[in-house]
Amino acid sequence: MQDINIKITDRNGVKHDIVAPTDMAMNLMEVVRSYELAEEGTIGICGGMAMCASCQCYVNSDTELPAMTDDEDAMLAEAFDVEDNSRLGCQIQMTPEMEGLEVTLAPES
């Protein structure tokens, strides 16, 4: 399986070019954690169950994303700083289709 290139802007506004594996069953929240782009303990609190919104990000590219599940949609309805392009990072799996994805991490809340 191939690696993909994505761009992640952290909470301090710094842009990172990231190479993410597609064969590790990783989601975007886990990529952020493995590269330590957000302080430990401030992202992935619920472990990736769409239950905390600590992994919220804004999608800046027009990458075709997996459809939102009811869980993700409902969690975003309770989160803060939500924009039209908000998604939960833990619900975006690293697949070859995510090549070129660009996101900005939402502020901590």
Partner: protein
């Protein structure tokens, strides 16, 4: 002043299991937790979800694990200070510690075990102007005393289980309950959603959706909230209380200023020996600590708690000789006079 042998900060699975291991060594424990109930992440974040890697349990719900841990520790009569956050620590001349909570409750112990997990669970506060000014003057984030709302008007906002459950509960206590959420859909257990629907139909809960609370009205106390509903002008809803329920998020908080070595939001400990921190007498166990190879798992917290208690015992009784006994062999003698022990084998001749 509450006095105990081991003061445990955090009543998650790690803190709870510490009571048992300490009890085997005849050491008494008292626990402080910011949450109103024990269980830590297991009770606050995912009580109804299964866990598959607790040894000997192919599957157990996080809420059931909490219940079983509490049951296992009962005979050691632990004390609890719940709904309060440990704020400061003062080392005494004799090497013991006094820990004071945000409510001023003082605890004195020879040993402090920090089992604080990801941190103390603090309410997530919506961004509403002057919200903090009204805290405890009509704005509450956690419901501790339901009686406070007797015959009062209450506005709850949020779309999850706690918003639904409290709306249901308070509909019997308060004079008026209004539930406000950004969507028409709620994220909760099916029976809670159905119950709220029933209460709404019966006129016992007023629903305003999709809408958002944008402001608070009142001088010193809340008298109303400003609500914006999609496609309508903002309007005011009269109320005595506004309860935003947007979940809790863990924050390491005051412990970060206790002079402990912190790395990546966790407390560094000596994992070669006993999970002691850089301050002798203060241990850190479970999710809250870090060392090379650390894994934030429940079973790792149990192991750390066990070794930590042995070390605590040696600190408290430096001159006592001690040998570890299996529970099967030694039984379990509670502080409440109970004793569990393995039944004796029968010795009887066969004619």
């Amino acid at each position: 002043m509450i006095t105990t042998d081991i003061l445990i900060i955090g009543a998650g699975p790690t803190g709870l299991f510490t009571i048992f291991e300490a009890g085997l060594l005849k050491l008494k424990c008292h626990l402080i937790d910011a949450l109103p109930q024990p269980g830590g992440q297991c009770s606050e974040i995912y009580p109804k979800k299964p866990i598959y890697d607790i040894p000997a349990y192919p599957e157990i719900l996080a809420g059931d694990l909490t219940d079983k841990l509490i049951e296992q520790t009962k005979q050691f009569k632990p004390g609890f200070t719940l709904g309060e956050r440990a704020e400061t620590i003062d080392k005494q001349e004799d090497g013991s510690f006094i820990v004071t909570t945000n409510k001023g409750t003082k605890h004195h112990a020879k040993i402090v075990a920090i089992a604080g997990g990801l941190g103390s669970f603090e309410p997530r506060k919506p961004k509403i102007e002057s919200l903090e000014k009204f805290e405890d003057n009509g704005v509450e984030y956690i419901i501790k005393e339901p009686e406070l709302y007797r015959d009062k008007k209450v506005v709850i906002s949020g779309g999850g289980d706690s918003a639904l459950d409290w709306a249901i509960f308070l509909s019997d206590v308060a004079s008026e309950v209004t539930l406000i959420h950004r969507r028409n859909e709620f994220r909760g257990a099916l029976d809670s959603v159905e119950k709220v629907q029933e209460l709404k139909n019966a006129g016992k809960i007023r629903m305003i959706t999709p809408a958002e609370v944008k402001g608070i009205v009142g001088d010193d106390k809340v008298t109303g909230v400003v609500v914006e509903k999609k496609g309508e002008d903002a309007f005011t809803v009269d109320t005595d209380h506004f309860i935003p329920l947007f979940g809790l998020s863990p924050k390491l908080g005051p412990i970060a200023n206790w002079g402990l070595e912190i790395e990546k939001n966790a407390i560094k400990v000596n994992n070669a020996l006993d999970y002691q921190t850089n301050i002798p007498g203060i241990y850190a166990i479970g999710d809250v600590n870090t060392y090379p190879g650390k894994l934030k798992l429940i079973l790792c917290g149990f192991h750390e708690a066990t070794l930590m208690c042995q070390s605590a015992y040696k600190r408290i009784f430096p001159d006592k000789k001690y040998v570890m006994k299996y529970t099967t062999v030694g039984g379990v003698e509670g502080f409440d006079g109970t004793k569990k022990e393995a039944p004796k084998a029968v010795v009887k001749a066969i004619e």
